[in-house]
Subunit: 447 residues, 3 copies
């Protein structure tokens, strides 16, 4: 796969001190210069690797965004638990994706670098020579780093929907299954070059593969788990306002920022004029869809309820982002605008709908990630000529059936065995004191 003409570089690189100060590197630099491959050969590899690293740390940042969003939208008596769940799920995702997920999702990729037993992810050697690298792509480590952040996002989605009544450890057990197996298996259908990819399904950065998968898993969990005590009482929906809207807004901004990496990095290349220009298009479209989602929710809640609803605006923003994720490249800015706007509208109408069905989704994760994710995946057909509605629907249904059914079974088994719900007393006291013995705001508690 690699051009093998750069063998001489090895010797020079081997001399490279790990921390190269000027006086040392000067000599080495001269030696390298003689044998160095030209930037025409290595430039694209370097740029794409950089794209994965920058994109990856931006998507990492989304973990903080989900955490703040969810911590802000639960009641103060459950904040510590929500914080704990989020940092734990991210950490577990990182380990499971290394242990199983990455090589399950991209079978046959990066040949020579996959491990043996249990398919553990193995990185390239230190100081890789240009002749050993996949010069037409990027470093395995950077790719692993980038992809890992996506699976963590999926798990974060589930965390929000099931807040305020789920037990910590059963939730984390589900994260193990989701990030190690469910997400990688279904992800491989498309991004691993599997059957949906061959059929022509298109989901650029994962409206379906990441977001709706998280949403389906959350939906199954919410049904098996049941609503919070007192949420639906005497035929009425009892509002349970979030404890800290400043945190929730911060979380939304963090997610918005991270999404530039989520969508932009999914270009998977940055070393040609066409690729870097496309990344620019994706950034601009992503921002536009978010803006349109926000403004739509702003206007709609004003019209429908005569008062702007900030939590709807936040979720409208996120729904705009989810909606553009399946195809952030081909739409014009106007396309991004209306695709995002429809996403925002979906949230405004879907949140009360779920409540009517007595499905208790604490942070609105299902409307945002599942419903807007489906919408975004359908909307691909308007701008990407290589796609068909039929294929897009096939993909949507395939991911839906697989994730919902498997999630439902897993949640149900957990419910019947270890139990997934805290006691009524714990729920009323709040999970922080009853489960963790630690309040998030010990000096500000009401009463």
């Amino acid at each position: 796969m690699n051009t093998k003409k750069l063998l001489m570089l090895g010797a020079g690189l081997a001399l490279l001190p790990v921390i190269g100060f000027a006086q040392e590197t000067t000599e080495v630099a001269e030696e390298i210069a003689e044998a160095a491959p030209s930037f025409d050969e290595i430039g694209p590899y370097i740029m794409t690797t950089l794209l994965f690293l920058v994109g990856g740390f931006l998507v990492f940042w989304m973990a903080a965004g989900f955490t703040m969003l969810e911590a802000g939208l639960v009641r103060s008596k459950n904040v510590t638990t929500q914080l704990t769940k989020n940092i734990a799920l991210f950490s577990i995702a990182g380990i499971m994706y290394w242990l199983v997920g990455f090589n399950l999702m991209y079978p046959g990729e990066f040949n020579g670098y996959v491990g043996g037993f249990f398919n553990i992810t193995v990185l390239e050697a230190v100081g890789l020579g240009a002749d050993e690298a996949s010069l037409d792509y990027a470093s395995v480590a950077s790719d692993f780093f980038f992809q890992l952040m996506f699976v963590a996002a999926t798990a974060s989605i589930v965390s929000g929907a099931l807040a305020e009544r789920i037990k910590l450890w059963p939730f984390l057990a589900f994260v193990v299954v989701l990030t190690g197996f469910m997400y990688p298996i279904s992800g491989s259908w498309q991004w691993g070059g599997g059957w949906l990819s061959e059929m022509g399904f298109s989901d650029f950065a994962g409206s379906t593969i990441v977001h709706s998968v998280g949403g389906w898993a959350a939906l199954a969990g919410a049904i098996v788990l049941g609503p919070r005590l007192g949420k639906y009482k005497d035929g009425r929906v009892n509002p349970m306002p979030g404890s800290n809207l400043a945190l929730a807004t911060l979380g939304t901004f963090i997610l918005w920022l991270g999404w530039f990496g989520f969508n932009g990095g999914s270009q998977l290349a940055a070393g040609t004029v066409g690729d870097i220009t496309d990344v620019g298009r994706i950034f601009a479209n992503t921002n536009m869809a978010a803006s349109a989602g926000a403004v739509t929710a702003l206007i709609l809640t004003q019209i429908l309820y005569k008062k702007v609803d900030l939590t709807m605006v936040l979720n409208g923003t996120l729904a705009g982002l989810v909606a553009i994720t399946a195809e952030p490249l081909y739409p014009s800015l106007f396309g991004a605008l209306w695709i995002g706007a429809v996403g925002g509208a979906i949230v405004v109408f879907a949140v009360p709908l779920l409540d009517k069905m007595k499905i208790d989704d604490v942070v609105g994760a299902i409307p945002v990630h599942l419903f807007a994710g489906i919408w975004g995946t359908i909307a691909v057909v308007f701008y990407n000529e290589g796609t068909s509605l039929m294929t897009q629907l096939t993909g949507i249904v395939a991911y839906g059936v697989f994730t919902f059914v498997v999630s439902f079974i897993v949640w149900y088994i957990f419910k019947m065995t270890i139990g997934i719900r805290v006691s009524e007393e714990s729920e009323l006291t709040g999970l922080d004191l009853s489960e963790l013995g630690m309040e998030a705001y010990p000096e500000f508690s009401k009463s």
Copy 2:
């Protein structure tokens, strides 16, 4: 304008799959390799586009910074409203700048890419060929993305000053006018290659064009709107402490981080040794000016009031940043130090001055962005030899007169027609409950 020698690349790029899996890209890569332009030709374009994307997401992050700063400095009864205004203004700015602003500000730029009707911004084609790109600059989308973030900053400045008594929708209507028309029109005088640019005015990243414009619009608004109830009573200034200084400090750090993109990205080039080295200078100077502003406010408040005042330190930091924004490149680190220090001092003296004039600027936006912005624009003459004090003053006055007068008229018309101020009762209750029906911290309210 473009060198036309790279025609062959088109075919290769057109074959590029949007998401390039290894097995697919290998073949394409080989094809491209034959016709690919060298990195000497495309490297600068790629690097400058990358600068705009990274700089752009950093400046995006400033939107979160303004939001947290302002949410922390208002009283808890107005936090939800402040959060809502900020996410809404950013979203509206993004739409207006696309619809009108960008092409109004940079007329004639990017020929071939400007739209027809209403001057809507149109991006380059997907998978742009190297022969179609402005290889001596950067991708239009990345430039649009970067510039868009600046107009949003201007609007954020206004938001803070007018907090705690302005109605939501009239404020957002002003944002439409400011981001779609006022800022782009005056911005074009300099950055669009207009009369001030021809005269030799110098404002590297916008001490005047962005910050003082925001400050002038805020000042006009604060005068038309009047102070908060009870702020100036019986000849005394009644302190109304912010509800959450941790958030305000977070906001300041976010802004500081974003400012590296704000000033660094304004180098507008990153593909030569000189350019990337200059970006490094700008980063170091920007950090120094912020540090100097903070330390100055720290020392001055200790001397003047015998107690350090954290909100002054935060605003001193920001004033240092605003002051260096007009010329972050030419000053030495010592130059950045004293320019930033004067900025910090300005804030310490200007905040009580405004209060004496009974101009109620809730977060100190006018001292920080207007006064320190003027100072920074003047300070350019000390280090940039190509500038003259007369020209700098001309620019300062031009932006001041235009922005203040137009803003005043717009605010006045709004006041006379739709009304810009909430009722006394609403103001006393707090805008969150009276206007939005949603508290930011429902469980922590006093009493």
Copy 3:
């Protein structure tokens, strides 16, 4: 040094429609164009400079992380003081490192650019020519910017441990000594090419040089300063829970994000296949160690205390990060996992140990940065073949003795002269009201 073969590029560059300074840069561009070096020559310089700028702003962000972590872990009556200390220490570090530290730490580096009197840092000229640049390294300004952020991290560590009872100004005076002299002097032993470097000591990104140095200075301070009133009473440890765990968690995520720059940027090169691939390895390993530290603390606190302890999980995450910092490149992902896991375990066992010794470390900075820092420095020998346990221990002891002794003396002199501890009354009231006269959450105070 430059090849002169790219003359044709000039015409294209001359047409540059740079926004703003078009008329000025055109001439310059023409001059440059004639002699433009190829990307093979300048690419590495540009990429490494970019690495320092991106790495630097990520490490900058850690200042916000420390601030939020510490503000969240102190009681609400001391939050304003903690916020003030953190923004002040960062600003002072920036000034001291410019004034003395940088040239003290890297003597003889960047010849031609060091200043005269007092060794003030001087940057390269604006618009540096490729023939004047250190093409085998990076821009001085970017390097200064990057290194500066490390010294600030050291000071932040001290801030957390000594919270809730130290006076503001004596603390800041210690920061002057630490960032201007102590850290640069000891840092030069290794990173300045000094005796430890020659001996073969290895500390990639500073488990010892940055983190344990901060930890030693904090330990000396904690001993001289004594515990908070009532912390150890009647043989019992009195828990004083932090006021805002959401902020503390946000701070941890911010630090985690910043650490990618901390470790990744310490590769000090990004312009070859080997270097950028190594940066990818470092990112992946850094993330793995953090995850492992978190999961270890999660499981251990569940086993030991039957309840998960979020603050332990946060500190376990940070300890994992500190532990991998000495050698984030050579370990496999499995190596990063167990090195980070041991770091997490250290925190769980060391926090109660310190309490037994009545050393009051408010935020757990000593276990995280000192103990896990020592561990990480030892762990280098398992994966980096060029190192020996003896040399690693020599380095650990050298930094420990120097920093602890000098810090102890400085703290002791301060204690005997200006006094370092607030009055008992002030401590009970809280430093915010007694020292600064400003509450962080004025509307949410208890009672």
